[in-house]
Structures are given as structure tokens and as C-alpha cells.
């Protein structure tokens, strides 16, 4: 019986694998192949008759393109960090302080925002905080004017935050609800001040949830196309935008495919690197 269970589990994996392999791996292999094809200006897609080449990757190696990758990861990181800093107190309030009615209202509100089109949300931000919006001076808090390139970056961060904040808060509500409040009471009854209890018990025990929320938010940010396109004003351009222009506008599929492959490899490496870093520190702290 004990031998049959793993076999059964493995057998149950097959339907998912059969669906996922052609849907995920198939296109990835095609994309990798496309990235090696030469491109002839004025034609659509890669040249099928030409010899495979690494030229498309060589073009991305230009130092100016490093800037686009750095911008994407930096702005994404900023929006994720802000979402965590602002989302944690919201989640904490909902999980620990809010009454049943208030909790329903707040969770409903957070879920409701996810059903609102991202385009509507981004335009609402542009109209409110943009150079001619009623809160145009908001950007001055950060020492920038709304019409400057840095103002455009602020708009992109706000646009991303608008989507990531509800995601982060909703993820953390579950995490916080799973932490027994008596542990916090125990810490305080033993003389720990409230702030120390919060950071060394509540936050420390929420780390797995915080990490999950951060990964979800960061993945959303660095793969985002719409927000920089709508409020970046052509100044803030993410790698997704570069890929989109190549596939959609100039029909240079090989270059778009090469950028996609590089972005995918860097993103996966980054996530695994971060996971490894956090886990090793976390386990070290646990010892």
C-alpha cells in the first residue's frame, strides 16, 4: 500500500504535465529557435532560409540595453518594497484589529480593486497625480515635478503599486491569521515592548508569507507592459515594452525572442538567488 501511493501521485501528475508541456515548453523552444534566426529589414519575422546566428543576442549586449534591464528591475523593486511596507499594516489591521463588518468591507474593497481594469486604474492615477491633475504637487514630496522624467517614473511606481498593494495585502492577511496571537501576548507578558514583539514575533513569523507576496508582486511589476506604456511617457521603458515593440511594431521577431530569453533567464536566476539568500539567512537565524 505504501508503495502504491507515490506511484498514484506520479500518475496524477501526468494530466497536468501533458497539458503544460506543449503550452509552456513548446512555445519556449520555438522562442529560443526564433531568437537564433537572422532578420531581414522590411520582412515579417525571422528569415527561415538564413543560417542560425547569435547576432540578436550580440545587439542586446550593447551597454545601453543594460540600462533598460536595470530600470525594469529597479522600478519593480521600488514598487514591490512600497507595496510590502504599505500592505503589511493594512493586512495586520484586517487580520488583528478590524471587526467583522470592517473586515468584510476592507477585504471586499481589496478584492474589488482587482476586478477593475488595470487601464482604468492607471489612467485614474495619471489624471489625479499627473502634471495637470488635482494632486500634481504630490510628486514634490519626493523632490520631483510631475512633468519631469522622474515624475514619469513616479507615475509608473504608483501605477504598479495600485495593483500590487491589494495583492500583497490579501496574501498577508492569510499569513497573519495563521500566526497565533497568543505568541505575541506571551512575548509581551514576558516584558517585550510592543514594537519588539511586532518585529521579532509577528514580522519574523510572517517572513514566508512576506516572501511569497514579494515574489508575486515583483513578478507582476517586472513583466508589466501596460503601466510604463501608459504613464511612462516614452521615458520609462521596461524590457516588456522593448519586446512588445519588436514583436508588434517592427516585426523583428528574432530580436524580440532574444530579449525575451535573456529576460527570462535573468528573472529566474534573480528569483532563485533571492530565495536562496532569504532561506539561508532565515535558516541561519532559526538556528
Amino acid at each position: 500500500m505504501a508503495m502504491r501511493r507515490p506511484a498514484l501521485s506520479a500518475a496524477l501528475l501526468w494530466p497536468a504535465l501533458v497539458v503544460m508541456a506543449p503550452l509552456l515548453l513548446g512555445p519556449l523552444v520555438l522562442l529560443a529557435h526564433e531568437s537564433l534566426k537572422p532578420f531581414v529589414g522590411g520582412r515579417v519575422g525571422g528569415d527561415e532560409s538564413g543560417a542560425l546566428t547569435l547576432q540578436n543576442y550580440a545587439q542586446i549586449a550593447d551597454p545601453q540595453y543594460v540600462r533598460y534591464f536595470l530600470d525594469t528591475f529597479r522600478v519593480g523593486l521600488l514598487a514591490t518594497a512600497l507595496a510590502l511596507v504599505l500592505g503589511f499594516p493594512v493586512a495586520h489591521f484586517i487580520a488583528r484589529r478590524a471587526g467583522p463588518v470592517m473586515r468584510r468591507l476592507l477585504v471586499g474593497g481589496l478584492v474589488g480593486t482587482l476586478f477593475l481594469s488595470i487601464i482604468v486604474r492607471v489612467y485614474a492615477i495619471a489624471m489625479t497625480f499627473g502634471p495637470h491633475g488635482p494632486l500634481a504637487d504630490f510628486s514634490r514630496i519626493f523632490g520631483v515635478t510631475a512633468s519631469s522624467p522622474d515624475g514619469a517614473e513616479l507615475m509608473v511606481v504608483l501605477g504598479l503599486l495600485n495593483s500590487t498593494l491589494p495583492l500583497v495585502a490579501l496574501t498577508l492577511i492569510g499569513t497573519l491569521q495563521n500566526i497565533n496571537p497568543r505568541l505575541e501576548d506571551a512575548a509581551m507578558s514576558l516584558g517585550a515592548p510592543r514594537w519588539k514583539t511586532f518585529f521579532q514575533v509577528t514580522v519574523a513569523m510572517s517572513l514566508p508569507g512576506i516572501l511569497s507576496a514579494a515574489i508575486i508582486a515583483y513578478a507582476f511589476c517586472i513583466s508589466n507592459l501596460v503601466v510604463p506604456m501608459l504613464v511612462g511617457r516614452g521615458f520609462i521603458v521596461f524590457v516588456s515594452n522593448l519586446i512588445y515593440f519588436r514583436f508588434s511594431e517592427v516585426a523583428n521577431f528574432p530580436s524580440g525572442a532574444a530579449l525575451s530569453m535573456v529576460m527570462m533567464v535573468i528573472s529566474v536566476a534573480l528569483f532563485y538567488g533571492l530565495l536562496h539568500l532569504v532561506r539561508s539567512h532565515w535558516q541561519e537565524a532559526g538556528k
Binding site: 540595453y65 499627473g130 511617457r233 521615458f235
Partner: protein, 364 residues
């Protein structure tokens, strides 16, 4: 008597089959004769609004069903979408412009226009019609359109007389321009003409755009008509370079002056219209295109777009009198770019913009 679920299902299926056969024999079910359906790709903003008006007229006498899809970004994007699935595309009729016509003719995707159905093509001047290597007519031109520099007179009462003026400090952050892939690089060509070059000698144009970018004159880089119209409506920008459609929409709400007659620069002219993809229901598609090319409809279409009609008998919107050129003015002020060449360098220009211009505008 008991009836199992399986018996019931069999009986129901048999009954349905018999009923369908009977109705079909009597001619009550005629699926093949159902109305044709066309999926038409059109630009948003004024284009789709006027097209729906014309289709309402079309459907009074024709039962072809029309479904619309809007261009996302530049109209060249539709080429990539078609390539990905060709020849199993869902699209039938495309509303695009000269460079995109050329790309699709090069891919051999288009049906030659059947002039026995598109009878209105006869009165459209031949030079407007794009042809394939065999000389077959491949497009139904509906508009003579253009791309021009211009400004909002309410924000910039004095205007400007030359593109060189745009380098002055008072224009810092005031320019709204297209990404080079929009309008197929005409912004760079315009800047090149300003400094003695052209599309094949674009280096002076790149230098000029770099100067504008480095001085912080460029306030926004747009990628679609709607984006441009919205940007100019906010009042953030007083000067722009865009197509007549974007300017026309802006001019409906604000006083606009087009700089189409500058002594040291040119305005760009081209045609927009319909083409029909292979594999489409030909009769329905050509009847649809023919209806739009009918002089009255051509007039209505262009009155609303701010474009010049292609039917000589159609009237031009009075607002446009100053925008386009008289035959005598054409050689002096109009420029007909080599779109086949521009299409061949567009990917390279796009990459160059990313490498050389965006870092400069980013610095402000």
C-alpha cells in the same frame, strides 16, 4: 415500462437528427445561406466612430455582419498578429496605410481588388492605389492623409516659423512626438529634411532629434492616436508632430495651426484605405470596401477624419482647406516618402531610438 438515461439520450439525439433532416429538406434550415461575417480591423477614435455610421447605412441593403477589432498601437502591429497565424487569420478587411500595404503585398497576403465588385475604384486616381509586382490593384484608398508639425494656438500664440525654433528654452518639455515606429519614422525624416537630409540620408535628422532630446524639449513620446489626442488635450504640450487624424481631433476642441508650409521643411502625404486578406469571403469583403469608396460615403468618412477624400467628386471638410496643398503647392511643400525603404530600416531605427534617444530624454 422503464426508460434508462442512455435510452432517453439516444431517443433525443435520433429525434433531433430526424427533425433537422426534415427541416433541411423543407428548406427551413439553410446554414450555407446565412449572412457572411467580416472581421474588420480599424483604428480607434474618429475612424471607428465614422465607420460604424457608414456600416449602419451599408447594412440597410446588405446583410453581411461586421465585427470590428481596433488597432493596438501602430497599424503595423496587425502584421505581426497575422504572421503568427498565417494563413489561418480571422481578419478579412484591414484599414491601414501605405507602409503597411507595402509590407502585406511583400508577404503576398492580399487579394487583388475585384473591380467588377469594387466599381467605385474606377474613379479613384490611379496613383493612390498600391499595386503588386504584376501591376494588380491591391488596395482601395479611402483617404489622402498626412503627417505635419503643428501647435495649439491658445498655448503658443506666436507659434514658430522653423523647426530650429523648437530648440529655444521656451519649448522645453513642450513637444509631443511619436515613437519612431509610429508614422514609420517620418519624425526622423522631417528632422533630416530640416538639416538637408532625407530618409536615405537620415543622419542629420538623428542629430537634430538628439539635440531636442538632450535639451529636454521632448515632453512625451506617444505610441498611438488616442495617446496623442489625450496628450495634446491636457495642455501639457503645445507643439507636436502627428497625423492629420490626431490634429483634427485636437482641432475640434482647441485652436490648432498646422505648419504644413514651412520654407525649410515639408509635410508628408500618404494614403489610407482598405485591403482584403486572402481566404476572406471575397464578395462580401469587396462589397463592403466598395460601399466605403462610394463618393457620398467617402465624403462622410473623410469629413469626420479630417482627411482628404480620394473620390474627386467628394467634398473636403472646410476645416482642412488650409491643411492640404493646392496642386501648385505640392512640389514646394509636400513630401512623398519612400515607405518601402523606411519599412526596411524601421527595426534598425527603433533600436537606434532605444540606444540613443531614450537615454537622453530620460535625463531630461
Amino acid at each position: 415500462m422503464s426508460l434508462t438515461r442512455r435510452d432517453f439520450t439516444r431517443a433525443a439525439l435520433a429525434g433531433t437528427g430526424l427533425a433537422a433532416t426534415g427541416l433541411s429538406t423543407l428548406g427551413l434550415l439553410t446554414p450555407a445561406q446565412a449572412a457572411e461575417r467580416l472581421l474588420v480591423v480599424q483604428w480607434g477614435a474618429n475612424w471607428i466612430e465614422v465607420s460604424k455610421q457608414i456600416v449602419a447605412e451599408f447594412q440597410k441593403t446588405n446583410d453581411t455582419q461586421i465585427a470590428w477589432e481596433l488597432h493596438a498601437g501602430g497599424s503595423a502591429a496587425v502584421v505581426a498578429k497575422i504572421k503568427a497565424v498565417w494563413p489561418r487569420t480571422q481578419y478579412n478587411v484591414l484599414s491601414v496605410w501605405d507602409p503597411v500595404f507595402r509590407a502585406m503585398i511583400a508577404e503576398d497576403w492580399l487579394l487583388p481588388i475585384d473591380e467588377s465588385i469594387v466599381t467605385n475604384l474606377k474613379t479613384i486616381p490611379d496613383q493612390y492605389i498600391q499595386k503588386n509586382a504584376k501591376g494588380e490593384k491591391m488596395t482601395v484608398p479611402l483617404s489622402t492623409a498626412g503627417a505635419f508639425w503643428g501647435y495649439r494656438e491658445d498655448l503658443l500664440p506666436g507659434g514658430f516659423s522653423s523647426l530650429e525654433d523648437l530648440l529655444k528654452p521656451e519649448f522645453k518639455g513642450k513637444l509631443c512626438v511619436p515613437y519612431p515606429i509610429n508614422l514609420t519614422g517620418l519624425l526622423i525624416v522631417s528632422a533630416a529634411i530640416q538639416r538637408g537630409g532625407n530618409e536615405k540620408n537620415a543622419e542629420p535628422g538623428w542629430d537634430f532629434i538628439k539635440e531636442l532630446a538632450a535639451k529636454g524639449q521632448i515632453g512625451e513620446i506617444c505610441t498611438s492616436n488616442s495617446e496623442y489626442i489625450n496628450a495634446m488635450a491636457t495642455g501639457r504640450y503645445s507643439v507636436g508632430f502627428w497625423n492629420n487624424g490626431g490634429w483634427f481631433a485636437t482641432a475640434k476642441n482647441f485652436p490648432v495651426k498646422l505648419k504644413s508650409r514651412m520654407p525649410d521643411n515639408k509635410g508628408f502625404l500618404y494614403n489610407e484605405g482598405f485591403c482584403v486578406l486572402k481566404g476572406s469571403p471575397q464578395k462580401a469583403a469587396f462589397e463592403f470596401a466598395n460601399f466605403f469608396a462610394e463618393p457620398k460615403m467617402n465624403e462622410l468618412y473623410n469629413m469626420n477624419l479630417g482627411s482628404g477624400p480620394t473620390q474627386p467628386s467628394a467634398k473636403t471638410n472646410p476645416m482642412l482647406v488650409d491643411w492640404y496643398y493646392t496642386p501648385e503647392e505640392l512640389p514646394k511643400y509636400a513630401y512623398f516618402a519612400d515607405f518601402a525603404y523606411l519599412s526596411s530600416v524601421m527595426s534598425e531605427w527603433n533600436a537606434r531610438w532605444e540606444r540613443e534617444i531614450v537615454p537622453l530624454v530620460r535625463k531630461g
